[in-house]
Structures are given as structure tokens and as C-alpha cells.
């Protein structure tokens, strides 16, 4: 049955639940509204189109796109292994992978510093190879990937678990080797989950601040992403900070809306035996 086909179906929601739901919505929406009200609209365009703002926005979009690609390349295999395989310490690995979700980003930055920094675990080796990551755009992408990867893994693992492995088993008995099963069955079935995971990762990368500041530094055009630019602008020009914040909110809203637009549309062909995960339904 297509969702929403019965417009006035009975729902058993107590009044107090509705009331608290309204409060919850206000908690989220009101601060955004307050910010919009604070925007200096007469100077809005010059504020957000200043060279430093545009540079920061471009850098943010570029690095977030790169980290999203990295999240997909690395996160898909990890989610598949976590969802399908069974091995010792699997639960521990899952908890560790999810850690960046709850870790203060600055802690992530410190951890990255001690891994990829000049004095870090891998830093010396990388240095010998002529790779210097600190203070580079690569560092920004690494920081964003670190904090965004769990979003992709969680949402994809949920989708994989919901879709189950029965289609994969059927495909194997039809003669498909694991590579073909993965490409032609596993991935297409969890595409909605993968898409929503990728969007969440992109959004998280876009908002990344603490780890970037700690690990990558802040230099216009190289490492100063939009959130860092906003934080810096706030020191001298709060109006510019507010205007840029609005830009960031707008980009985030656009991205999330794109991903959650008609979640059913992305799942045509879900018969009674299909159970694709709700988009992003398994975060946290």
C-alpha cells in the first residue's frame, strides 16, 4: 500500500504527546527563526558575496563533496562487513566506529593530530613519503570524513539489515559470484539507505568545525571552511557571521530536503517482500 493513501486514518496520539511535539518543534525552529530575524537584509548580499565568504563557501562545498566520496568508498564496505559478516569483536568495532557521533569534534581533531600530524603515528612515515597533511585541504577532508563516516555506516547498516540477505542468497544460487551479487543485488537494494547516508555525511561534513580547527588550522582558501569563517567573522563583524550562518543553514536545508523529498519515490518496486530502510531512520 502506498504511504499516505488514507488521508484521515485514525491515529492514537494523546493530546499531551501532540503538545510536547509542538514544543520539540519550537526548540529546533525558534533559534533558526531568531537568527533569520537578526539578518541585516540591506547588507546581506555584499556580506555573503565578499571574497572571503565565497572562498570559504567554495572550499566547504569542495571538501564536503570529497569527504562524502571518501565516506562512500570506505563506509560502504565497512557497513557491509558489519551487517553481513560475523566475527570476533564485531560489537566492539561497531561501537568504536560510531564513536565520532558522540565524541566532541575537538577530541576528534586531537586524535587526528596524533595520527596524521608531523609527530603523529603515521605522520613520520607520511613525511618520508613527502606527504604533509597538517594545514592542508587534505587535512580538512580527513577531519570531515572522520566525523561524517559514522552517519553513512549507521544508515547503510540499518538498510542492509532491513533488506536482509535473502536476495543475496538467491542471487548466489543462480550462479552469481560475490562481486556480482554485491554490485547487482546488494547495492541497488540499499540505494535509498546509501543515498540518505551520503546526504547526512555531506551535511555533517559541511558543518564540521571543531576537528578541522584543531587538526587542519584556518587559512583562507586552504583550510578555512564556512563554519570557521563564520566563527572568525563573529570576532569583528557579527552581521557578517549571521548572514553566513544563514547561507550555511540554507545549503543544509537544501541538501536535507533533497534527500528526504518523497522518500517513497526512491523505492519504486518495493513489493511486499521488499523492506527498504526508511531514509536515515537508523541514526543514533
Amino acid at each position: 500500500m502506498p504511504p499516505g493513501s488514507t488521508p484521515h486514518a485514525y491515529t492514537a496520539i494523546p493530546g499531551w504527546v501532540r503538545a510536547l511535539a509542538v514544543v520539540a518543534a519550537v526548540v529546533v525552529v525558534l533559534p533558526l527563526l531568531a537568527m533569520v530575524l537578526r539578518v541585516d537584509w540591506t547588507h546581506f548580499v555584499p556580506l555573503v558575496t565578499s571574497e572571503s565568504s565565497l572562498t570559504a563557501l567554495a572550499l566547504s562545498l569542495r571538501t564536503s563533496a570529497a569527504s562524502t566520496v571518501l565516506c562512500i568508498v570506505l563506509g560502504v564496505p565497512l557497513a557491509v562487513v558489519l551487517a553481513r559478516d560475523t566475527f570476533r569483536l564485531q560489537g566492539l568495532l561497531r561501537s568504536l566506529v560510531l564513536l565520532p557521533l558522540v565524541l566532541p569534534p575537538v577530541v576528534g581533531g586531537i586524535a587526528l593530530l596524533y595520527t596524521f600530524g608531523r609527530q603523529g603515528l603515521l605522520g613520520r612515515t607520511l613525511d618520508v613519503l613527502g606527504l604533509q597533511i597538517a594545514f592542508s585541504t587534505t587535512a580538512v577532508v580527513l577531519a570531515q570524513t572522520f566525523v561524517a563516516l559514522p552517519f553513512l555506516v549507521v544508515s547503510l547498516e540499518g538498510a542492509l539489515r532491513t533488506s536482509g540477505s535473502r536476495y543475496e542468497a538467491v542471487a548466489a544460487t543462480l550462479g552469481a559470484p560475490p562481486g556480482i551479487v554485491f554490485r547487482r543485488v546488494t547495492l541497488p537494494l540499499v540505494l535509498p539507505g546509501l543515498a540518505s547516508g551520503a546526504v547526512l555525511s555531506f551535511a555533517r561534513s559541511l558543518g564540521e568545525f571543531g576537528a578541522t580547527l584543531t587538526f587542519a588550522g584556518s587559512l583562507q582558501g586552504v583550510t578555512r571552511t564556512l563554519p570557521l569563517e563564520i566563527y572568525l567573522q563573529r570576532e569583528t563583524d557579527p552581521d557578517a557571521a549571521v548572514a553566513l550562518s544563514l547561507v550555511l543553514v540554507a545549503v543544509a536545508v537544501a541538501v536535507v530536503a533533497l534527500a528526504y523529498r518523497r522518500p517513497a519515490a526512491a523505492r519504486t518496486g518495493s513489493g511486499r517482500t521488499t523492506a527498504a530502510a526508511p531514509a536515515g531512520g537508523n541514526v543514533t
Binding site: V170, A171, R184, L191, T268, G269, T273, T274
Partner: protein, 363 residues
């Protein structure tokens, strides 16, 4: 072209040996949890037994545990086994249309796109749904989807077709049509069909294997097993009363001391079984149809009749008769007789059956 199979899955109390000859279709039946799915999964390679060995047409499917002896263990992954699995649900890939679903097997094994498509169309025509080639699974009815699933399994050109209750999820209109389709495509094909329906076994299978508690309870040509069941499950399938005990001069004596007289059956020995006449003292069964049982309020002894007191547990309609269940046995009587006797559950009555209607044979 033979499947020889023997495997143990200790965790499930599963220990089964089975042979499927070339071109033979074997029905596997048994109560829930008897190990039917374990059997299919381990043949398909989706479940790894603890020990055992299996070969299909000379190719080793697995050789595990002590069965491997000192030699090396062997395990062929599912995609190299040639054992297509068709389940109760069609499990068509929801993102592919019917034709692409059917072409999936050939494409996966290296057939070109065009050739695979042609093969898909041919098989869709074979199962009578060529006009649905472009439809997505969500746009197919249950019966149509299962037909496509059959075409998909056959298009993979399996050496052994595994069918796991393929008709169980279908409505009463689709099931007969699909059964006819299976009758056609399984003819001369090596296949194992797990089913709960005795009709499937009779129509589709050359031989039936009854599994109980992870073991083979009996096996043989379908008709013979149903006519002379040697397991309670098979007797239930055939709708026969089944009383196990020990053979004696007159018939069978149960563990509870009940004596049931009947006529001894000459049994054809199964393949590999010793050709021995039933000997008194050896285990045997008394089998008789519910229609041969009369119900009396008193002990009405008239020889040669068997009469035993039983307590009614259930009364249920059975065709145009009333089936009286009591003491693990069943009697079919007319509704008028049931009303005359004022039968209700909990009543103690006598089941009476003529010795001539009771078959007795060793097991």
C-alpha cells in the same frame, strides 16, 4: 548425474543421508523443524554442516569434518554449485524487471547481454508470462511473480533444482496453475521439493522422503509411502490412523497393552533392505482409515473386531462427515450418527474397527 548427500549439523540435531538419481524429483516432507530447510540450505551452500560430504554429478559440494578423513576439507561456494533455489516467496529482485530478473543467472555466469535477454524471453514464454517481461516485481500478482521466479531459476540451467514450499504462499486460484507448471518443468529434471501438501508429492515427485527430528523417518515411492506409512507423519499425510507397537500372531500389541488384530501385509522390500518376513516380536504398525472406524457408546464386542475405549478430544467437519478425534485416533461418521449419539468432547466412547480393515506390517 546423481546427488549423494550426507551431513550432520550438530546444533540442530540434523543427521541426514539422501540420494537423488538423475532425472528424479524427490519430495521432502515432515513436520516443522524436522530439518527440511536445513537440508536445502546445506545443499545450496547457504549453510555449512559440521561434517559430511556431498557430491553432485561428480563435483564435490562439500567434504567436511571427519568425513574428510585426514584429507583436506572441501567447500564449493553456492554460485559454483549449480543448485538454483526457489523459495516460498518469489524473492524477485525488486529493482529489476521480470526479464532482467530471469536474465540474472545467465548474465552472472558470463552470458552476453543479448543472449541472456533472449534466454529470459524464452523462459518467460515457457512459464506463460512473456507479456509481463517489462514489469517490475511490485506490479506482479503473487502467482505471476512465482512464475517469473520459476523462469529465473530454470534460466540459470541448474543441475539440481531446489524448491522450498514453492506453492505455499499462493492463493487457491494460483496454486493449481503453478502446480501444473511444475508438473511440466520438473518432468525428467533432477529436483528436490520441500512441501507440506501431499498433492505436490503425488503429482510432482517420484519419491518421497519423510524427515522427523532431523532424521529420515522413511522414504520410498510416493504412492507406496502413502499407502503403507511407516511413520506417524506419513500416516497423517495419508489421513490414516497409525498405531505403532510390536508384532504378534494376531496383529500388533501396543506399549499400553492394547491388542489390535488385522491382516498382515506382504511388504516389498525397499532398495537395500533385507527381504525378511515380519517376525513376531519385531516392531510394527497397525494402520486403518478413519472411515473404517465406528463409534459406540458401549463395548460392542463381535469378532473379529477391535474395540477400544477412548475419550473424545475434538469433533470437526470433514467433507460431509464428522471426524471424531479421540485417543490419537480418528473416526469418520455421519452427522446423523453423531447427533444420535450426542457426542461431545470429553465423552468416553468405544472406537470399533473390523480386523479386515486394519493393515499390519513391520517397520
Amino acid at each position: 548425474m546423481t546427488l549423494s548427500y550426507q551431513a550432520v549439523v550438530a546444533g540442530r540435531g540434523f543427521d541426514v543421508a539422501l540420494t537423488v538419481r538423475p532425472g528424479e524429483t524427490v519430495a521432502v516432507m515432515g513436520p516443522n523443524g524436522a530439518g527440511k530447510s536445513t537440508l536445502l540450505s546445506s545443499i545450496a551452500g547457504l549453510l555449512r554442516p559440521d561434517s559430511g560430504r556431498a557430491e553432485l554429478n561428480g563435483r564435490t559440494l562439500f567434504r567436511l569434518g571427519h568425513e574428510a578423513g585426514g584429507g583436506k576439507q572441501a567447500w564449493t561456494p553456492p554460485h559454483l554449485r549449480g543448485t538454483a533455489l526457489l523459495a516460498q516467496e518469489p524473492l524477485l529482485f525488486p529493482h529489476l524487471n521480470a526479464a532482467d530478473n530471469v536474465a540474472f543467472g545467465p548474465r552472472s555466469t558470463g552470458t552476453g547481454k543479448h543472449a541472456a535477454k533472449e534466454r529470459a524471453v524464452r523462459w518467460l514464454a515457457e512459464v506463460g508470462v512473456e507479456d509481463l517481461a517489462g514489469r517490475r516485481p511490485a506490479q506482479l500478482s503473487g502467482g505471476q511473480a512465482q512464475r517469473v521466479a520459476v523462469a529465473r531459476a530454470l534460466a540459470a540451467d541448474p543441475a539440481l533444482l531446489l524448491l522450498d514450499e514453492p506453492l505455499a504462499a499462493l492463493d487457491i486460484h494460483s496454486a493449481p496453475l503453478l502446480r501444473r507448471l511444475f508438473k511440466r518443468v520438473l518432468a525428467g529434471r533432477q529436483a528436490i521439493i520441500v512441501t507440506h501438501d501431499v498433492l505436490d508429492a503425488l503429482m510432482l515427485a517420484d519419491r518421497v522422503v519423510i524427515l522427523e527430528d532431523g532424521k529420515v523417518a522413511e522414504e520410498g515411492p510416493t504412492r507406496e509411502v502413502l499407502e503403507r506409512p511407516r511413520s506417524r507423519f506419513a500416516a497423517g499425510l495419508a489421513g490414516l490412523n497409525f498405531v505403532p507397537g510390536v508384532l504378534d500372531a494376531a496383529g500388533v500389541r501396543t506399549a499400553g497393552g492394547l491388542e489390535i488384530s488385522g491382516h498382515a501385509e506382504e511388504l516389498e522390500p525397499g532398495p537395500g533392505e533385507p527381504d525378511l518376513p515380519p517376525t513376531p516380536g519385531s516392531p510394527g504398525v497397525a494402520v486403518f482409515p478413519p472411515s473404517a472406524v465406528s463409534v459406540f457408546l458401549d463395548d460392542a464386542h463381535g469378532s473379529p473386531r477391535n474395540s477400544f475405549p477412548v475419550t473424545i478430544t475434538d469433533l470437526e467437519p470433514h467433507g460431509d462427515q464428522v471426524r471424531v478425534r479421540a485417543g490419537g485416533l480418528a473416526a469418520d461418521i455421519t452427522p446423523a450418527a453423531s447427533a444420535d449419539l450426542a457426542l461431545v468432547p470429553g465423552m468416553t466412547v468405544h472406537f470399533v474397527v473390523k480386523a479386515a480393515a486394519v493393515s499390519v506390517y513391520g517397520t
